[in-house]
């Protein structure tokens, strides 16, 4: 087995894993906020729709959701999708799933802000939008960073689930090389890469947490 080739292949896979990771965050972080707001809506129909959504996304395996996102369009609507859809299905499933987790984190954060903050803003004439984005959200972000960090670290490891749709991310490639050459080494290397990936992520989140430490 050529180690050089193995490393190159695994690094290519890592790049795909990073892509899944970044795109999932880009979509699920804002989507999670929208779901959190729906979950806290004054309208009980809307509130319950989002409650059920969150319950399903958290109550069923992500791998199953991946398969549904990939095969669903074919079995349900009988549409044939190109092979690029594989990757889209992964991003779709990951974003929908992580948004549900983020939504509950946002909700906890928003509900933890003292009502006095809203009242002070209201007396000062801030609009609802200004109150939410200028006064409430910055405080929420600070409070939820530790919980978000947990989810983000889980996401790094969860990207390996994309192997169930044979997307060529790092874990899929490690498995291919391993069975082709009957060796454990690609898994060990992949494990090291995942660890470094998470180390960097945790470091970045730690820095962010520190930066928001200028107030209590």
């Amino acid at each position: 087995m050529d180690y050089q080739i193995m490393l190159t292949e695994l690094l290519k896979g890592l790049l795909v894993s990073v892509e899944i990771f970044v795109l999932t965050l880009v979509f699920s972080l804002p989507l999670g906020l929208i779901i959190a707001l729906g979950r806290m809506s004054g309208n009980c129909i809307i509130r319950n729709i989002f409650r059920v959504y969150i319950s399903i996304m958290r109550g069923t395996p992500l791998m199953l959701q991946l398969l549904v996102c990939f095969f669903g369009p074919y079995y349900i609507f009988n549409v044939h999708l190109s092979s690029e859809y594989r990757f889209i299905a992964v991003i779709l499933a990951f974003s929908l799933n992580y948004a549900a987790y983020f939504a509950e984190i946002y909700r906890g954060g928003i509900e933890s802000i003292a009502v006095g903050q809203y009242e002070a803003a209201r007396v000062l004439g801030y609009s609802q939008g200004q109150t939410f984005f200028k006064i409430i959200m910055p405080q929420v972000v600070k409070r939820i960073i530790p919980a978000i960090t947990n989810e983000v670290i889980t996401l790094v490891k969860d990207t390996s689930l994309a192997f169930s749709l044979s997307v060529l991310e790092m874990f899929t490639i490690a498995k291919q090389i391993s069975s082709a050459h009957t060796t454990m080494i690609p898994f060990v290397v992949a494990g090291v890469f995942y660890y470094i990936f998470n180390f960097v992520v945790a470091f970045g989140m730690g820095r962010l947490e520190k930066r928001l430490n200028y107030y209590r």
């Binding site: 003292a114 006095g116 903050q117 009242e119 002070a120 803003a121 209201r122 007396v123 000062l124 004439g125 801030y126 609009s127 200004q130 200028k134 006064i135 910055p138 405080q139 600070k142 200028y214 107030y215 209590r216």
Partner: protein, 250 residues
Amino acid sequence: MPEKVLTINKLSKSFGALPVLKEISLEVEKGEVVGIIGPSGSGKSTLLRCATMLETMDSGTLTYGDLTVCLEGCYADKPVLRAARNRFGLVFQNFNLFPHYSVLKNITDAPLCVQKRDRDEVMQLAHSLLAKMGLSGRENAYPCQLSGGQQQRVSIVRALMMKPEILFFDEPTSALDPELTGEILKVIRQLAEEDMTMVIVTHEINFAHDVADRIIFMADGLIVEEGLAHDLVNAPSNDRTRAFLSNIMK
């Protein structure tokens, strides 16, 4: 005829089945300082919260000068409410400063982003008010770095920055250590000397006696007695007022 800044007529408010305010009427003239005293649970905070539109009243009329916020239980349209919000300020018991904003941002953000006033004018006013309140040099501090007394002074400045015609205080010293109440009372006295129109809910009877023109004694959602500060404190005519005063001055 003296100008009426605030007129409340027969304001009633219930929380569910619990009536908290029963046909309260109150008028405040320009430059007047009104003290509100009364036992805990008598509805003092609820009265201020109705007057500052944090709570909706069930019936009665609420007017700020020429702006009728609520006419016999019917609230006016949004633009009127917004205009009325510009007329008053509220100082909370527990300050409610924005913890993620510096002192300067806390006091200038609403004048700049809500009232859209000129930046130079706002900054100038901010620095002069901070100086007046003994807070010069703390512009860049965050609320958590200040003592309770300093935080309350910042929140008074924050309210004054909006140039309100009337300022409400809900027990402004109750969340403070006893040794810090003095600095807040001094600041409010100073405002009274400058003819700021104020309505102050307080347990500091001596302070109310000194600073208020008129004192209102509330109990069970009613105004039990009202009168000139000196008269009400020294010669209350109602038994409940007498009992309350002798209790609190013990």
